[in-house]
């Protein structure tokens, strides 16, 4: 995969919440066109990794590089403008805004109205369920639709890299499959994806490669199909 070039690379990244060390020097690479998944139990540092990349949480030391450029200390909004979009855990859609208004947030930095309309229509093509509800309040959508809206909102920024935090959380199995299908399609259209998941089974089916986090450290990495056959992974996360 190396010949495709590194899109995102973390070098020895350390993040602290006050006195608590959440990431103890993490290094990982994401190559262009890949789906990479981060696995691990609660509190392993998966969400923190994504938050540190998108600048929502400051890194203490180490580096985040996007296309070779150091973005470790950049402001979240400039990281978004570069094309690295974080879809936060729990979807975080705006409950009191309509579906269309929620999508418009994603294109906030875009001044071209025609382009904005084009992107909204594209989101509605990808998610026909949202098109039927474009004037409904975000809070009235079902869990699956809210997740679609969160991903659609991220698509509005025309992302190069999507950081997805637990997109399957709280969804029925059939919806999980649907969301994963959408992530796969987005990836095939050229978006690189870093996926954080508790549902390791689904994540490893989808991903090219994976990293396993434990208490803020990477303890294992490799191709997804190899990881899904590894005994310790099977025991810890796949529940056989």
């Amino acid at each position: 995969m190396n010949e495709n070039g590194t899109v995102l690379s973390l070098e020895n990244l350390e993040t602290w919440y006050g006195q608590i060390c959440a990431l103890r020097g993490i290094s990982l690479d994401v190559y262009r066109g890949e789906i990479v998944t981060l696995l691990g139990s609660n509190g392993a540092g998966k969400s923190t990794t994504l938050k540190t990349i998108s600048g929502l949480v400051p890194a203490l030391s180490g580096k985040v590089k996007f296309l070779g450029e150091d973005i470790t200390n950049s402001m979240p909004h400039s990281i978004v403008e570069m094309g690295v979009i974080h879809v936060p855990e729990g979807r975080r859609i705006f409950r009191d805004l309509t579906v269309t208004e929620n999508l418009e947030i994603g294109s906030f930095s875009l001044k071209d109205n025609a382009e904005r309309k084009k992107r909204i229509e594209k989101v509605f093509e990808t998610f026909p369920a949202l098109a039927d509800r474009r004037r409904q309040m975000g809070g009235l959508l079902s869990g699956g639709e809210q997740q679609m809206l969160a991903i659609g909102r991220a698509m509005m920024t025309d992302p190069k890299v999507l950081l997805l935090d637990e997109p399957s959380m709280g969804l029925a199995p059939v919806l999980v499959q649907e969301i994963m299908e959408i992530i796969k399609n987005l990836n095939e259209e050229g978006t690189t994806i870093l996926l954080v998941e508790q549902n390791a089974k689904v994540a490893l089916q989808l991903a090219d490669r994976g990293y396993v986090l434990e208490t803020g450290e990477i303890v294992m990495e490799g191709d997804a199909d190899k990881l899904s056959q590894d005994d310790s992974i099977v025991k810890a996360y796949l529940g056989h």
Partner: protein, 337 residues
């Protein structure tokens, strides 16, 4: 079911029926206002009436209405911070203290024309906005309220203890300026000055609400973390709210200094900040006509109920409590979708 229960149920259905009727009337009124011709003629007629008012009424009424316009300006200013951006602020009086003292000091101590003090007042307001905005960037709701409360008290106590602000006596004998050769010494002059400011504040507020910045305020008000993750510069957006809100307050404060001709630290107490916040919440946070209504009520209610004597504030308090329990979104109605 007993008779009593049945009666209660009938009463309840009647109440909901009445509520529905009221809502349908409100919706019809909103429909009517959608029509631009009707809306602009209402604006024109009410503006004409408001400009004509001082000619027809007593000085007492003019004085109170002047006070209403002053409150409209400061309430719209606070509404930018609290209503648009959702940043709970309990120290707004500090901002009009900054304006009032800036103009007062420059006029009284240095003999500078009032009109020239206005740009300085704006500049000081920007500094004051940054002074409260920057240290509180990471603070939310209750914590922010505590710090802004402290800020308000700090400004008041500083004014009380500094020689340049005249300590506890404040500034006395601030000269009134002339406007195209007319010295502003009648209440009607101030009535017009504050009315024009209120109109400008309303127009600016509504333009801001529908602007890009206004939308960004709405996003950080709804969910600051999500807004930040979606690429909104939350730092800049928050600071703009404090700065613009502060400028509204400072300009109103500057004019207050020349209207009263005397200002003292007691004009800028915590109670003042609370009364302004109360007007905003009472009318409806973030809703411009609601905020204007709130400003009107908080000024006029204590005046018209003077006959009741000292119980009026108690009654006002009870009415407010009842209102907040049954209409937490504020008095101004909203169209049902």
């Amino acid at each position: 079911m007993s008779d009593k229960q049945i009666n209660l149920q009938i009463a309840a259905t009647q109440v909901t029926a009445i509520q529905k009727k009221i809502q349908s009337v409100i919706d019809k009124l909103f429909d009517l206002l959608e029509n631009k011709k009707i809306r602009y003629s209402i604006y024109a007629v009410s503006m004409a009436a408001l400009f004509y008012l001082p000619q027809k009424t007593s000085m007492y009424v003019t004085e109170i209405m002047t006070n209403v316009w002053f409150h409209v300006v400061v309430c719209l200013g606070l509404n930018i911070i609290v209503g648009f951006a959702g940043l709970l602020s309990l120290g707004y009086a500090a901002f009009f203290a900054v304006g009032a003292y800036t103009s007062g000091i420059m006029i009284l101590r240095y003999g500078i024309s009032f009109w020239l003090t206005l740009p300085v007042s704006v500049l000081m307001a920007v500094i004051a906005g940054l002074a409260i905005g920057v240290p509180t960037l990471r603070l939310r709701s209750d914590y922010l309220a505590i710090v802004t409360l402290g800020f308000g008290e700090m400004v008041r106590l500083a004014a009380r203890n500094m020689a340049i602000t005249g300590r506890a006596t404040g500034l006395v004998g601030i000269d009134r300026p002339a406007f195209f050769g007319i010295t502003m010494n009648k209440i009607a002059h101030f009535y017009y000055a504050f009315l024009i400011m209120a109109v400008l504040a309303t127009i600016i507020s509504s333009r801001l609400q529908n602007s890009r910045l206004g939308r960004a305020w709405r996003y950080i008000r709804e969910d600051e973390d999500a807004a930040e993750a979606m690429g909104i510069n939350t730092v800049a957006v928050r600071l703009y709210a404090f700065i613009i809100g502060s400028v509204f307050g400072a300009i109103a404060g500057s004019f207050m200094a020349i209207k009263m001709t005397a200002i003292s630290p007691d004009s800028f107490t915590f109670t003042q900040s609370v009364m302004i916040l109360l007007a905003v919440v009472l009318g409806g946070m973030g809703k411009i006509p609601g905020v204007i209504l709130g400003a009107f009520i908080t000024v006029v209610f204590p005046e018209i109920s003077r006959g009741i004597g000292q119980y009026r504030m108690l009654i006002f308090g009870v009415v407010l409590m009842v209102l907040m329990i049954y209409r937490p979104q504020g008095l101004w109605p909203e169209r049902e979708l």
